[in-house]
């Protein structure tokens, strides 16, 4: 088999060399001067570029229309609606610039293609024009910058206290969630406390006693949530594409993301006319061999449904266990 491949390659090279020799010979025989050759070949390629531009632009818009249904559905969070709007504004501007500059580029090549015996227009610089096309993009960018930063500051405002505190704990290769319970306070966790009975290494303290852990992320519609991300091994990333939400989980620190889900799973299923639809939490930072399999089901539901679901989840510590703790949990735990 290998021999066949090698023979194939050798045959290919021999044929190519033969063809090249024929081409070179015929060019020599044609007696064309280099200028004549340029004058003959340049319009062909220039026309090619023009056709490429035309077909390319048509395909550009056709593809956008064809692939639109496969894109993410409407944002299911408050800030997501805002960033989607900004994204659309950005796209309109860059598509306009894209189309105009590409047309100018390819059209000029066609229009000013080689004419034998003629000279180009000697035009080395023009400071006014330079200033105009420095200032114009600056103004447009300033507009995009200001609107972008305004929503960035709103999205990342960590001072808000009204969110339900939920920990998303990541490790190779799955996520675990921990709910803060009635007190809305998560007990601290520390990696030295990790054991078979305590997979998240939660400290046995008052705040942790009502904490519950689960293997799904359930959220209450229209109720703010503050996610606290931790990782026990490598960097992971918590990506919730339908909520336009993403934050890395880094060992040794807690990262947070605050948002408000607005569409329940069942409502989204109706909207998309897809009874099997589910929200998903994906790992979006390369974390090992099974990175592509690391994800978690996300459910957005009514307060009543949420209450029922949460009641069915396991407590971090059994109700009868005492607060008094062994030596492993008495060391300082304030890594966050």
């Amino acid at each position: 088999m290998t021999l066949l491949y090698i023979l194939g390659i050798v045959f290919f090279i021999v044929v190519m060399v033969r063809i090249m020799n024929v081409i070179n010979l015929s060019e020599e025989l044609s007696g064309e001067t280099p200028d004549e050759q340029i004058a003959r070949e340049t319009p062909i390629n220039a026309m090619g570029l023009l056709i490429f531009l035309g077909i390319g632009l048509i395909l550009f818009f056709v593809t956008i229309k064809a692939y639109m249904p496969y894109m993410l559905p409407e944002a299911a969070s408050v800030h997501g609606k805002q960033t989607d709007f900004l994204l659309d504004v950005n796209f309109i501007i860059i598509i306009a610039v894209f189309v105009l500059t590409q047309i100018a580029l390819f059209w000029f090549v066609w229009k000013y293609k080689y004419r034998k015996g003629e000279k180009a227009y000697y035009y080395p610089h023009n400071n006014t024009i330079e200033v105009i096309w420095t200032v114009a993009p600056t103004i447009v960018l300033a507009g995009l910058l200001i609107t972008g930063l305004k929503s960035w500051n709103e999205i990342t405002d960590n001072q808000r206290k009204d969110g339900m505190n939920v920990q998303i704990y990541s490790k190779q290769f799955n996520f675990v969630t921990r709910y803060s319970g009635k007190d809305n306070t998560l007990g601290q966790s520390y990696f030295m406390n990790i054991s078979d009975d305590n997979p998240l290494g939660v400290k046995k303290e008052a705040a942790a006693m009502d904490d519950k852990i689960a293997n799904e992320l359930h959220l209450v519609v229209n109720k703010p949530v503050m996610l606290h991300m931790n990782s026990q091994d490598v960097i992971h990333s918590m990506y919730l594409p339908h909520f336009r939400t993403q934050m890395n989980a880094v060992p040794g620190m807690t990262t947070t993301f605050y948002f408000v889900p607005t569409i329940t799973t069942s409502e989204m299923r109706r909207k998309l006319n897809n009874p099997k639809f589910d929200y998903v939490l994906l790992c979006n930072k390369i974390c090992g061999v099974s990175h592509y399999l690391m994800n978690m089901k996300v459910v957005v539901e009514s307060p009543a449904e949420f209450k029922v679901w949460l009641a069915g989840q396991k407590n971090v510590f059994a109700a009868d266990s005492t607060l008094a703790s062994g030596s492993a949990t008495t060391q300082p735990l304030t890594i966050n």
């Binding site: 290998t2 190519m16 070179n24 070949e41 340049t42 390629n45 220039a46 496969y70 894109m71 993410l72 805002q82 960033t83 994204l87 860059i94 610039v97 500059t101 000029f108 090549v109 000013y112 293609k113 080689y114 003629e118 227009y121 035009y123 080395p124 024009i129 330079e130 096309w133 420095t134 993009p137 600056t138 960018l141 995009l144 972008g148 930063l149 929503s151 960035w152 999205i155 990342t156 520390y190 990696f191 990790i194 991300m229 026990q232 490598v234 594409p241 339908h242 336009r244 993403q246 890395n248 040794g252 620190m253 990262t255 994906l282 790992c283 390369i286 090992g288 061999v289 099974s290 592509y292």
Partner: protein, 605 residues
């Protein structure tokens, strides 16, 4: 310093100087351990071509996996052995392929290959110097590069597999062999290879800057330098400033891996046991890495833009529009590139205010980039455009630079980046703006300066075929990728089967892979043309493109020392194309103003 003085003395017309060398050349000193910049540039180019084909072949393998994840391909087993068992690509090796593809393309092809080839070839020839300031450093620069390529290549054959934590090698993944097999011996070799590479890059960079500052021929003021030289110089300075930081990052990672230090590691529980590393920060590595990593993308693109400036001006038969604006924007891009690295880290948990600062600096890069694009288009306007293969590739570069640059505005906007960070949208963006664009610049350079390197022309018709197939297939690969990203698909996924929402995208992935295979075929046409023309190409005339720059005044039959007699003196800037009042449409830099009374203008310099 001695070398520089020696070369200065040789400036003073020692016509016999070169002949002494000719006699002493053996095969070893002429082709391998040579100090001649022209030969070193060929060494860089040919090494880079091999590495490029290796990395491209890897991309074909993982594209096959992404398009047809369920199809068994028995040839994988014969090619990869245990990593292609039963015709299925191993998920761990998939990550290794992605990692090594990125590493080779970014560092070995587009940094070593691009800067190494063209800075070496063009700096002495275009500024009018007999050679680099230090031939010895130059030789070492190549051999460190070759060594680093070799170590990277060897790492493909270790049992635990090559490095596979992504080309950005973020710890803790890259620091812990327990986390991924590729972080074993493969990662050690990756780090050793990279340290060699950095040494090579620094030796080269110092040499380039020194040469440009000290060895310009008489009359070659800084504002008479071709834009290629400006681009190489700015690139070299950028490399000198940022590569040492990568060196530090790599060294500390090596310590963490080998000596148990905790620069990047803390609070880790893996394989059923806590590790002893306490107090480090994985984010520190990201800062150090991207402090190089972002300037690096400009180290990749600036030389390509420099080559394109020259090729576009020559083939439009018209001066480059806004010569000084071009220099200014390159300088500004280089400066800004050093203070934008945080835009790779918006969602790492970095302080959001710091994120805002990086948004401002990042979007500012768009301004000089836009100026450059407008200047290219203005150069084409009312030109007399000759479409050589080099010119076609340069036009392709501008097209990709626009397409890829514009999506950067979205990615640089932190609020919008949240949802597309690390998705295929990013993959599409950087492959177009620094991958395709820089490769097109490099190919333009190869077609344009091939006669200068080998004394022969590459076949034009094959060049056209190569261009058209590549242009179509590169857009075919990377344009649809934006949609996959906007559909929320993360990059570096072995398969998109884990989430039902991605099932619709199979068709797009197949389309991309078909175009990727087509682009591979197109590069075979190039490879054939390249190697065939080295030996059998048509002999080139002395100045095949009717250029003004000095490299075309030196005999194409390479002499050590470049010019057999005295080094030419420069009297004008390099862009006097299509000047009214002169018979020809070009006036080489060596022609004094006194010889062209009809065409002189008050703003000539």
């Amino acid at each position: 310093m001695d070398t520089i003085q020696t070369l200065h003395e040789s400036h003073a017309a020692d016509a016999h100087h070169t002949h002494h060398h000719e006699h002493e050349q053996t095969f070893w000193t002429k082709y391998l351990f040579t100090t001649d910049h022209k030969v070193i540039s060929k060494q860089f180019l040919i090494t880079a071509v091999f590495m490029a084909f290796l990395a491209m072949g890897m991309s074909m393998l993982f594209r096959l996996q992404l398009a047809w994840p369920d199809v068994k391909m028995p040839f994988l087993e014969s090619l990869l052995g245990q990593w292609g068992k039963d015709g299925k690509l191993d998920p761990g090796f998939y990550l290794a392929l992605v990692t090594i593809h990125g590493t080779i393309m970014v560092f070995f092809v587009l940094t070593g290959g691009l800067s190494g080839t063209f800075s070496n070839l063009l700096i002495p020839l275009q500024i009018g110097a007999r050679d680099m300031a230090s031939g010895l450093l130059n030789m070492l620069s190549y051999w460190f590069f070759a060594g680093s390529c070799l170590v990277m290549f060897i790492s493909l054959f270790v049992e635990s597999g090559p490095a596979s934590g992504g080309w950005t090698i973020y710890p803790p993944l890259s620091a812990l062999p327990q986390a991924i097999a590729g972080s074993g011996l493969g990662m050690d070799l990756w780090l050793v290879s990279m340290i060699f590479f950095i040494v090579s890059s620094l030796l080269g960079g110092i040499n380039y800057v020194t040469t440009v500052i000290n060895l310009r021929t008489k009359g070659m003021s800084m504002t008479r330098l071709p834009l290629t030289i400006w681009a190489f110089t700015i690139t070299a300075i950028l490399g000198i400033l940022s590569f040492p930081v990568l060196f530090a990052a790599a060294l500390l990672l090596f310590f963490d891996r080998t000596f148990g230090t905790s620069f990047y590691l803390t609070d880790i529980f893996i394989d059923g046991a806590p590790l002893e590393h306490i107090g480090g920060s994985p984010i520190l590595f990201e800062h150090l890495f991207w402090f190089l990593g972002h300037p690096e993308v400009y180290i990749v693109i600036l030389p390509a833009l420099g080559l394109a400036s020259e090729v576009i001006s020559v083939n439009s038969r018209k001066p480059i529009f806004g010569y000084k604006a071009m220099i200014g924007s390159m300088g500004l891009i280089a400066f800004l590139s050093c203070i934008v690295w945080g835009h790779h880290m918006f969602i790492t948990g970095m302080n959001p205010f710091l994120g805002s600062v990086f948004v401002v600096t990042t979007l500012m890069v768009a301004i000089p980039s836009a100026v450059k694009v407008f200047n290219y288009i203005a150069t084409l306007w009312r030109g007399n455009i000759v479409l050589t293969p080099a010119m076609l590739f340069a036009i392709g570069l501008v097209s990709f630079f626009i397409s890829g640059g514009l999506t950067g505005i979205i990615l640089g906007d932190s609020a919008l980046d949240i949802n597309i960070h690390d998705t295929y949208f990013v993959v599409a963006h950087f492959h177009i703006v620094m991958g395709a664009s820089a490769i097109f610049g490099m190919l333009a350079g190869v077609y344009h300066w091939f006669p200068r390197m080998f004394g022969r022309l590459m076949n034009k018709n094959l060049g056209y075929i190569h261009f058209w197939l590549t242009l179509i297939s590169v857009y075919g690969v990377f344009f649809p990728m934006h949609f996959i990203g906007l559909a929320g698909v993360p990059r570096r996924y072995y398969a998109n089967t884990a989430y039902a929402g991605f099932d619709n995208l199979v068709g797009i992935n197949e389309l991309i892979t078909v175009f990727a295979l087509l682009s591979g075929v197109a590069q075979l046409v190039f490879a054939f043309n390249f190697f065939y023309s080295i030996f059998k190409g048509k002999k080139s005339p002395q100045n095949p493109w009717k250029s003004n720059t000095l490299e075309w005044t030196a005999p194409l039959s390479d002499v050590h020392g470049n010019w057999p007699g005295e080094i030419p003196t420069v009297h004008r800037w390099p862009y006097d194309y299509g000047k009214p009042g002169h018979e020809d449409d070009f006036i080489p830099q060596t022609v004094p103003f006194s010889a062209t009374p009809g065409s002189n203008r008050p703003d000539d310099h």
